[in-house]
């Protein structure tokens, strides 16, 4: 026979785990940069407000229904003195009641839901439209003024930002939790999404539609800059890099000799106009590399150039670039060091 005294505290513990922890956790974006509970834009706040309304209703329903269940189990458990319980078959009034009340609760949830759907849908006319193209497994970013970059998206803090979203290959999904809800990107379509930032800062995002072997590595960073910083950054994207010297100059040459120019563009170099891979202008100023998976340090960049497959399984560069597929053309340690110096000089 089940030990009934065990049911009470254990069930309560279960209830606690399920209900309280979400409330205790989830708010600190410093520890959890992808949290959805620290909205920092108008759109994200609208979503969160709606969610909190639904969430507390759900918590209330949970407490009421689970308590009824628990109460029934305790109060009506069989005792040796029990006779045959009354063989009740139903009660029409109760059926109607517990049909109508949930229906009303759902209507209460539906109305703000629909309002929010339409509020979020249309991109405001004055939005600053940035073009995003998803690739396996990186993000191509093009500004209305023509600058092209990858994976690290800067936006000004003083206006509404909009995105047009397309894919170059398979389904992806564009998501920066603190700023907006996700938008899937379907081949053959152009999607839009928008938000107005509330504060400056660095926000993390990730692709959230399984897009192949390195889906987990297709991350991004969205930097909300002051208008001045933003202007400087976009100007930097278009300007030629400072003249390379020393090891960086060797890297400048290696970038051409080793075939990198076939796939990558760098502003100010007529020989580097490849569009197969990410645009590497201003690479030295980027916070991360390999689509926001690693901090942009000398050590990490060296590891990446030495063995990109190890960091991002299946990546196109490791599969197609001659330096990785042809043992005779392999990069030497010196090559790598030179390239690292060069790329980090692109500021």
């Amino acid at each position: 026979m089940a030990n009934l005294t065990n049911i009470c505290p254990k069930a309560l513990l279960g209830l606690l785990v399920i209900v309280l922890l979400p409330i205790l956790a989830a708010c600190s974006a410093a520890d959890n940069p992808m949290t959805t509970w620290s909205p920092k834009s108008d759109v994200a706040n609208s979503i969160q407000d709606l969610y909190m309304f639904i969430f507390w209703i759900a918590v209330a329903v949970f407490i009421i229904v689970e308590s009824a269940l628990l109460y029934a189990v305790i109060k009506f458990r069989r005792r040796p003195t029990d006779g045959m319980p009354r063989q009740v078959h139903g009660n029409t009034v109760m059926e109607i009641t517990w049909t109508i009340i949930p229906a009303l609760i759902l209507v209460a949830i539906a109305i703000p839901t629909w309002m929010t759907i339409f509020e979020i849908d249309d991109v405001p006319e004055d939005a600053y439209m940035i073009s995003i193209i998803g690739h396996q497994w990186w993000w191509e970013v093009t500004y209305p003024t023509g600058e092209v970059t990858a994976n690290e998206i800067h936006v000004p803090s003083n206006r509404t930002i909009g995105f047009t979203l397309e894919t170059a290959d398979v389904l992806h999904s564009f998501w920066v939790p603190q700023l907006f809800g996700k938008q899937d990107i379907v081949p053959g379509r152009i999607h839009t999404l928008w938000f107005t930032p509330e504060e400056e800062g660095l926000f993390l995002g990730q692709c959230v539609e399984f897009c192949g072997i390195s889906h987990a590595n297709m991350r991004l960073e969205l930097v909300v800059d002051s208008p001045a910083a933003f202007a400087a950054w976009t100007a930097g994207l278009n300007s030629p890099a400072p003249a390379a010297s020393g090891l960086a100059a060797a890297g400048y040459d290696a970038f051409a000799n080793k075939g990198c120019v076939v796939c990558h563009t760098i502003s100010g170099r007529n020989d580097a106009v490849g569009v197969i891979g990410p645009n590497l202008s201003l690479f030295g100023s980027r916070l991360t590399l390999a689509s926001a998976t690693l901090p942009n340090t000398v050590e990490n960049l060296t590891a990446w150039l030495t063995d990109p497959e190890d960091i991002k399984p299946g990546n196109i560069m490791a599969k197609n670039a001659a330096v990785y597929t042809d043992p005779d053309l392999e990069l030497t340690g010196a090559d790598v060091a030179a390239l690292v110096a060069y790329l980090h000089s692109l500021k």
Binding site: L21, P33, T35, F62, V73, A103, D184, P187, G314
Partner: protein, 617 residues
């Protein structure tokens, strides 16, 4: 007053019941139920092993226990295995074993078609899993969104194993569904109107109709995917005028009814156990039945809630949000009626009841998180994160698996004549309840914290690691609970307490015959006058409906003259031919003809198989 339920007579003649061959050729629904059940549990363990590997990889940030490529295969096959090879066949096991017993019939309408369904399921499951050794298992997720599934982005034949395997499994399920529809509509005992059927049988009927209407849609999608990959027919290729979203629509038009196919059997089981263990009838029988039917209908109107983030446009999104919220109403009706069944009862808290209570408690959680997803703006933050993974596991594990476990503990005595050990059962329950909450509870949180689905790794700075560790611990506890369960089964088969006909003082017809039942089930086909014929027979003073004054007596039969359908080897041959055709098509579509020939010859053999000894009037 004529007895509504007869007693067992002498044993009727039966075919040889020993040996492998008797199992290979069996057409007895009870044996086929056992075959389904055992096979499903084995596949469940396979799917669980896949889950454990996933959890071990995710227990640590930047882990490299499992490679990215193999991880994709694991999460894909874990889902495919659990959905198609574990939960659906476990439901089929119960349908097979129970439906004739609950409606007072001696077998299903088409015993050989029944056997064929099982063998095709087994071969289809094997076919799907051989992909692991032939170049890799399917790895594009269980819902296999185009165009990742094209030959460009999924070279090799992993996705062909997916389409061909699922096509085979679909035929198996469809055949079974057709059989159950005819059985339930056509073979009920005299007096058993539809509104006197046990709720489990009602849910089986609803599930069977869902399969009949949903499977062909999936079949078309799979055929289009197959033709795209094999013959370059550009159904899902945007550049050539096709549409990747067509796959999603087709898949979810099947996929959403599919989730009701997965949960309704468990709901039916719980609807039987709660009354027995409360010593009260089911509260609101009519409401529970109609709610089940309503869920099935509405289930075809909500599919695009799986597509809220693909860009359908605000009007479509709002419409599907509305239909999704509406479906919460009949679901709630069932839950309230179940609690009301217990209310004022005399509750027996043995293992079947524990699992039923667990089902209720956990399904409520899953249902509530589902309502959250029904709000599209909120869903743009939840979709494709672990919050959805939490939701689906609360309804599928907490719901379906707990319900099916309840059913196993409840009907094991009827099947085998022995009780499952109660001590082990309670231990199994608590381990599973704790393990389940520890594994899937934190997923709500880690999903809120932004952890996407289907990622093989994450960095330490994400803040997800501790919760993932907890989830992996929970998964290990779940694994132990399964070992406890299997131990209980094996021990009980050997030494379990003898059950007798009616160990639970139950209410429906299957408890009126011996445990295990004779091969012909009922010596005398009963005449039924109420929803709970056996209960009313035992406790006429508590019966809800009086038998009419002009009650018809059951037709007396000499058990020795009851002829059961003969065993047959044609079902396994036809199943083998079909599965072989699918398997050979992987090498070259033309080779499928070899399997096709075997199938065709097998069908002729089946159709022209001599009947048993002829009946004479």
């Amino acid at each position: 007053m004529a007895s509504a339920v007869g007693a067992n007579g002498a044993a009727g003649h039966a075919p040889s019941v020993d040996g492998v061959w008797s199992w290979v050729t069996t057409v007895d629904h009870k044996r086929i139920g056992v075959l389904y059940g055992v096979t499903a549990i084995l596949f469940f363990m396979l799917g669980g092993a896949e889950a454990l590997l996933i959890r071990l990889q995710l227990a640590q940030a930047d882990n490299n226990l499992i490679s990215a490529g193999f991880f994709s295969q694991l999460f894909t096959m874990h889902a495919l295995t659990m959905v198609f090879l574990a939960i659906m066949p476990l439901g089929a096991a119960f349908f097979n074993f129970l439906i004739p017993l609950q409606i007072g019939a001696r077998d299903v309408a088409f015993p050989r078609l029944n056997a064929f369904s099982y063998w095709l399921f087994l071969f289809g499951g094997i076919l799907l899993n051989t992909s692991f050794i032939f170049g890799g298992a399917p790895d594009a997720g269980w819902f296999a969104y185009a165009n990742l599934t094209s030959t460009t982005y999924s070279p090799g034949n992993a996705m062909d194993f997916f389409t061909l395997g699922l096509l085979v499994l679909g035929v198996s399920s469809l055949a079974a569904a057709l059989n159950f529809v005819v059985t339930i509509l056509n073979m009920r005992a005299p007096g058993m109107t539809l509104m006197r059927m046990p709720v489990f049988t009602w849910m089986a009927l609803v599930v069977s109709f869902l399969l009949v209407f949903a499977l062909p849609i999936l079949t078309v999608g799979l055929v289009e995917l197959l033709f795209w990959r094999f013959f370059d027919m550009p159904f899902f290729s945007a550049a050539e005028g096709g549409d990747p979203l067509l796959w999603q629509h087709i898949f979810w038009l099947f996929g959403h009814p599919e989730v009701y196919i997965l949960i309704l059997p468990a709901m039916g089981i719980v609807s039987e156990i709660l009354p027995t263990f409360s010593r009260k009838p089911l509260f609101g029988y009519t409401a529970v039945v109609f709610a089940g039917v309503a869920i099935a209908f509405l289930g075809f109107a909500v599919w695009a809630h799986h597509m809220f983030t693909v860009g359908l446009g605000p009007v479509a999104v709002a419409a599907f949000s509305a239909s999704t919220m509406i479906i919460a109403v009949p679901t709630g009706i069932k839950i309230f009626n179940w609690i009301a069944t217990m209310w004022g009862g005399s509750l027996d808290l043995r293992t079947p009841m524990l699992f039923s209570l667990g089902f209720l408690a956990l399904f409520i959680v899953g249902g509530l998180s589902g309502v959250m997803h029904a709000s599209p703006p909120v869903d743009t933050q939840h979709s494709d994160t672990y919050f959805v993974v939490a939701h689906l596991h609360y309804v599928l594990f907490g719901g379906s698996i707990f319900g099916l476990m309840a059913g196993i503990y409840y009907w094991f005595p009827k099947l085998t004549g022995r009780m499952l050990g109660e001590g082990f059962g309670v231990f199994h329950f608590w381990l599973m309840f704790i393990g389940m909450n520890l594994t899937f509870g934190p997923m709500h949180i880690v999903g809120i914290l932004g952890m996407p689905r289907r990622i093989y790794t994450y960095s330490e700075s994400s803040g997800w690691e501790n919760l993932n560790r907890l989830e992996t611990l929970g998964a290990l506890i779940l694994a132990v609970s399964i070992i406890v369960f299997l131990t209980n089964v094996i021990r009980s088969l050997r030494n379990g307490e003898i059950a007798g006909d009616d160990p639970w003082d139950a209410r429906t017809l299957e408890w009126s015959i011996s445990s295990p039942p004779p091969v012909y089930n009922f010596a005398v086909i009963p005449v039924v006058y109420s929803k709970e014929p056996f209960w009313d027979h035992k406790y006429p003073e508590f019966a809800h409906e009086e038998p009419p004054k002009n009650a018809v007596a059951p037709v007396a039969e000499d058990p020795a003259s009851i002829h059961m359908p003969n065993p047959s080897y044609w079902p396994i041959i036809v199943a083998f031919g079909a599965a072989l055709a699918a398997g050979l098509a992987l090498i070259d579509p033309w080779y499928a003809a070899i399997g096709g020939v075997i199938t065709l010859l097998g069908v002729y053999g089946w159709v022209f198989e001599p009947a048993g000894p002829e009946e004479h009037h």
